[in-house]
């Protein structure tokens, strides 16, 4: 029996405890140790990546043993392509966030401990396959995030942190109640087992036998849906996000948008799609509308913003909207027609790729914003800058690459995911895909506006002495930029790992 996934989760958790115990005085030791811990996490994730048997596609590195016998709860860990991808993303973004937080000097030991605990929560969420401890990690991620916003955030941090926590908890409680109902009816908390029951129809019959309502399945689905929809977020459950993203310190926003938002998407893919395919089909049209609304409205909202972080926050909602669109479209038709299977696989491949790419690009963008803030003394309004390309050419070039990746320029990573999504969704739900292209258009408009008003035009005299990226900062942004190119040119690097998983998932949907 291997314990790699447990160790992977425990490393940042224990590292956080050690760092919290070091005290506020030894700042450099705290930072160094946080960096080392997060790099160990990255190394561990890389080992998993290399040892993952891509051809097989099923769950690997499985750990499974009884935990709470009286409640029938097992400790069950494992990753497939989806889990692996998310673990990898977490492992990449965290060290970058730690490096970006190098200048935090208020209680750095608590700060870095919270960052590492957040990472542990994320690793746990992406590897746990039993609701009991999955939910534990799901919530464990929430508390560090709350305090990171609350204690190190911007001027309106209290309200933002509170709103973030309460919204997420509303979703979590709904999710919890749904799963308790499922557990009561089926006696299982095991995601894989429940997905099997859903396929064979046992789940539906057990639910209606236990509760005596015909529509109980739908009610339970809505509870679980709410839990994930708040986290992603889906419009209209998104209102916590702009405040939280813009008030959080930028390195924390990197984690929030880069990885925490993926928790919601991961939940959709791992839990909602396999366990509730029938319910998704029942309300498919409204769900597709929600996805379309998420894409189009968030892009329009981003266009209307004047604050860099808020623009990027809304743009994050927009990018995850494409994943939702792909996911719902993939649930659409029940027949086992090979052609539609291929389209579904394309859509889901695209969604997974988009999740990874968005995590990479969005965290890079917030990293750039944090670098701007450092130079401007906290200013980040769209109108505060202008003509920066003349004074900080390297910065302009590199951030431009990230922005164009976000915009979906072919050759950069953002393009591949969106292309696959639209390729898959168009035949499955043509009208939804057609309307969603408006989102692409508006995204292009607001990102170009951003580039124009910050980097082009006449130079704002105030910034004529703005220093360009230092060598250390160049090395900091280098990994993200390199990956943006690598994945844009050679997406097979990721697709190869996830393909078998996606094919499995598509086959599970045919019944």
């Amino acid at each position: 029996m291997n314990h790699w996934l447990t160790i992977l989760t425990l490393v940042p958790f224990l590292g956080g405890i050690v760092i919290a115990g070091l005290g506020a005085e030894r700042k450099n030791l705290v930072r160094g140790l946080a960096l080392v811990t997060s790099l160990i996490g990255l190394g561990g994730a890389l080992c998993l990546w290399l040892h993952f048997n891509a051809a097989e596609g099923g769950l690997q590195f499985v750990e499974k043993f009884d935990w709470v016998a009286t409640l029938g709860i097992q400790y069950f860990l494992g990753v497939d392509g989806l889990g692996l991808l998310m673990v990898m993303l977490t492992a990449i973004v965290t060290p970058l966030a730690v490096l970006a937080s190098w200048n935090v000097s208020d209680r750095p030991h608590v700060y870095h401990a919270l960052v590492l605990w957040l990472q542990a929560g994320l690793f746990g969420t992406f590897t746990a396959l039993n609701f009991f401890h999955w939910f534990m990690f799901w919530e464990l991620g929430l508390i560090p995030a709350f305090f990171l916003i609350k204690l190190w955030g911007g001027p309106k941090r209290s309200g933002a942190a509170m709103q973030f926590f309460i919204y997420t908890m509303v979703g979590s409680v709904a999710l919890l109640l749904s799963f308790l109902a499922i557990r009561l009816a089926t006696g299982s908390f095991d995601f894989i087992e429940l997905a099997g029951m859903a396929r064979s129809g046992v789940l539906a019959s057990k639910l209606s036998a236990t509760f005596g309502w015909q529509n109980i399945g739908l009610i339970i689905f809505f509870g679980a849906f709410l839990g994930f929809a708040v986290k992603v977020p889906v419009i209209p459950f998104h209102t916590w996000l702009p405040a939280a993203y813009s008030e959080a310190p930028s390195p924390v926003t990197m984690l929030l948008t880069g990885v925490m938002s993926k928790m919601g998407m991961y939940g959709f893919l791992r839990i909602l799609l396999p366990i509730f395919p029938e319910q998704i089909r029942q309300v498919l049209t409204p769900l597709l509308w929600l996805a379309v609304a998420t894409i189009v409205l968030s892009a329009c909202a981003a266009f209307a913003q004047k604050d860099l972080k808020r623009i990027l926050a809304y743009s994050s909602i927009n990018h995850l909207g494409y994943c939702l669109l792909a996911l719902f479209a993939a649930a659409s038709v029940a027949t086992g027609v090979t052609a539609s299977d291929l389209q579904k696989a394309a859509a889901l491949d695209g969604a997974l790729l988009q999740m990874f790419n968005h995590g990479l690009t969005a965290s890079a963008l917030f990293l750039f914003v944090s670098l701007i803030e450092k130079r401007s003394g906290g200013l980040r309004g769209l109108g505060d800058f202008g003509g920066l390309r003349k004074v900080v050419p390297v910065f302009t070039g590199l951030m431009g690459i990230a922005l164009f990746s976000s915009l979906g320029l072919p050759g950069l990573n953002g393009f591949v995911g969106e292309f696959l999504i639209f390729k898959g969704v168009f035949p499955l739900a043509p009208w939804a895909a057609a309307i969603s292209t408006i989102g692409l258009l508006v995204t292009a408009i607001f990102l170009l506006t951003l580039i124009q008003s910050v980097f082009c035009g006449p130079l704002n005299a105030r910034w004529s002495k703005m220093p360009d990226l230092t060598t250390a900062e160049r090395f900091l942004v280098l990994p993200s930029i390199a990956l943006i190119f690598v994945l844009g040119i050679w997406p097979q690097f990721i697709l190869g790992k996830i393909d078998a998983t996606v094919v499995n998932l598509v086959q599970q949907l045919n019944f």
Binding site: V68, A69, L140, I143, L151, L176, A181, L184
Partner: protein, 499 residues
């Protein structure tokens, strides 16, 4: 063995009496040693019980044969859980009262009498004996609050005592009637709980007797709308008093509901199931809602207790195995967590700042001045919200699962209570410890706050540890609770009274 928990505690009271009047230090040490001895005995005794599913007799001596009363001490799994809880609460309560100087000897004497009475209730299987111990706890409660309390202490003490007396009178009337009817059916007088539980009381009798006895006990469990003693009493009590009130005294009520009212009148329980569940959920939501708007830090915790005890009552009302399991586990869990919350607010914060008003606390930056208190409160708050990893989650999880099976709509409603619970806890964390309000420059220099002392740290670590251990390994207690709930004693109850 377990009976010694009672005896040791009362011996401790006697030793305290013999101490000189003004030696607070000696009184503290004697009290602590007594409580530790009781706790250790409770632990060892509990572990030695190899069959938690059965009622294991400890002593059984005839007491008043004419009315069938006997000195009958016994324990099953549920008793074990609560005995261990009482042991933990007793020790930590003393650790958090280490700063009591005013008539410390009397304080700890009353404190130990209360503990002894609580042990007695949890171990009695004779209804009269149980009632005697139950009454015994009222007197020390009154004096602890009236003498060593704070805000409106006389009022709080009086209210608590009156509510308790009303409740116990209802119980007493019910028990007398039960005794009479049982005598007719059995042919001989009996107050033995096990014997009585086998009597099939007439339906009409159960229909009226169940609510009488249940409400009598439920008043002490803080059932809405009879809860109003709880917040005022908790706030008025000294720290150790609130810890015991919320930690174990409220459990006495819930324990009585389960052990006496529900076991004796299973059909009555079935009939009134809906009413109890509705009141329980009303308590969950109402308690949380009121906690959300309090200005006094301690009132927040007081009302949160009402809300959390609602889960115990909801679990009892389900009348199914998993719901009862959850209810008993929630009794344990709430005892630990509420004790910790009161310790932070009463001892760590109030004894140092002499205020519990959020408006004042907001200006004090306690998160930076008392980091240990802040972190303890955050952990306790997280546990109290029912976040996984802590005991509250496993307990509420089972209660809600049980409730889904019987009252799906009420279950969804109680979800609202949980969310409000998150909101008031966060509000308390923000206002109490991490407020953004500007600090008042003057008083921070004049009165540096005393740092958190060792006894406080030990107590906090014990309680956090207990909640974490049970949260991660609920099996430790479930192995006692589950066989017990499935035992013949509860069989009639779980079958909805039909047997």
């Amino acid at each position: 063995m377990l009976a010694w928990t009672i005896y040791i505690t009362f011996i401790g009271v006697l030793v305290l009496m013999l101490l000189p009047r003004d030696n607070a230090r000696a009184a503290r040490i004697v009290a602590l040693l007594t409580a530790i001895a009781g706790c250790v005995v409770a632990f060892i005794g509990a572990i030695q019980q190899t069959h938690p599913g059965e009622v294991t007799t400890i002593t059984k001596i005839d007491w008043v044969p004419a009315i069938g009363a006997s000195y009958y001490l016994a324990a099953d799994g549920i008793s074990l859980v609560l005995i261990v809880l009482t042991g933990l609460a007793a020790v930590t309560g003393i650790l958090f009262s280490w700063n009591i100087e005013k008539r410390a000897k009397e304080f700890f004497a009353f404190y130990l009498v209360l503990i002894g009475g609580v042990y007695g209730v949890f171990l009695s299987f004779d209804v009269l004996l149980l009632f005697v111990f139950y009454e015994l706890t009222i007197i020390p409660k009154y004096f602890l609050i009236a003498r060593w309390g704070s805000t409106r202490k006389e009022y709080g003490a009086m209210k608590l005592a009156l509510y308790s007396f009303v409740g116990s009178h209802l119980v007493l009337i019910g028990l007398v009637a039960t005794w009479v009817v049982a005598k007719g059916q059995l042919g001989h007088a009996s107050l033995n709980l096990i014997e009585l539980s086998k009597v099939s009381f007439p339906l009409a009798f159960q229909h009226w007797m169940f609510p009488l006895v249940f409400i009598g006990f439920a008043i002490l469990a803080g059932m809405w709308p009879f809860h109003t003693w709880a917040p005022t009493g908790h706030v008025a009590a000294p720290t150790a008093g609130s810890m015991l009130l919320a930690g174990v005294v409220m459990k006495l009520g819930a324990y009585g509901c389960l052990r006496v009212a529900m076991v004796l009148f299973p059909e009555g329980a079935k009939e009134w199931q809906w009413a109890i569940a509705a009141l329980a959920v009303a308590g969950i939501v109402y308690g949380a809602g009121v906690a959300l708007v309090q200005k006094d830090f301690k009132f927040v915790i007081g009302y949160s207790s009402v809300s959390h005890m609602g889960f115990v009552l909801l679990g009892l009302a389900t009348l199914n195995t998993i719901g009862l399991d959850g209810a008993v586990l929630q009794m344990f869990s709430h005892g630990i967590i509420a004790g910790l919350l009161f310790a932070v607010v009463g001892r760590m914060v109030y004894d140092r700042t002499h205020t519990r008003d959020f408006n004042d606390l907001e200006t004090m930056q306690l998160g930076k001045k008392l980091p240990f208190a802040a972190i303890t409160f955050v952990i306790a708050g997280v546990a109290s919200m029912g976040l996984p990893g802590f005991s509250g989650f496993v307990a509420e999880l089972q209660v809600l699962m049980g409730a889904w099976a019987v009252f799906p709509k009420l279950t969804i409603l109680s979800g609202v209570g949980i969310i409000i619970g998150v909101a008031y806890t966060l509000r308390a964390v923000q206002k109490g410890f991490y407020s953004d309000a500007p600090a008042k420059a003057s008083d921070s220099h004049e009165h540096p706050l005393e740092p958190i002392t060792i006894p406080e740290k030990v107590g906090a670590v014990m309680l956090i540890g207990a909640s974490l251990v049970i949260g991660l390994f609920p099996g430790l207690l479930m192995n006692w609770i589950e066989p017990c709930v499935k035992s013949p004693l509860f069989e009639r109850l779980l079958k909805g009274g039909s047997l």
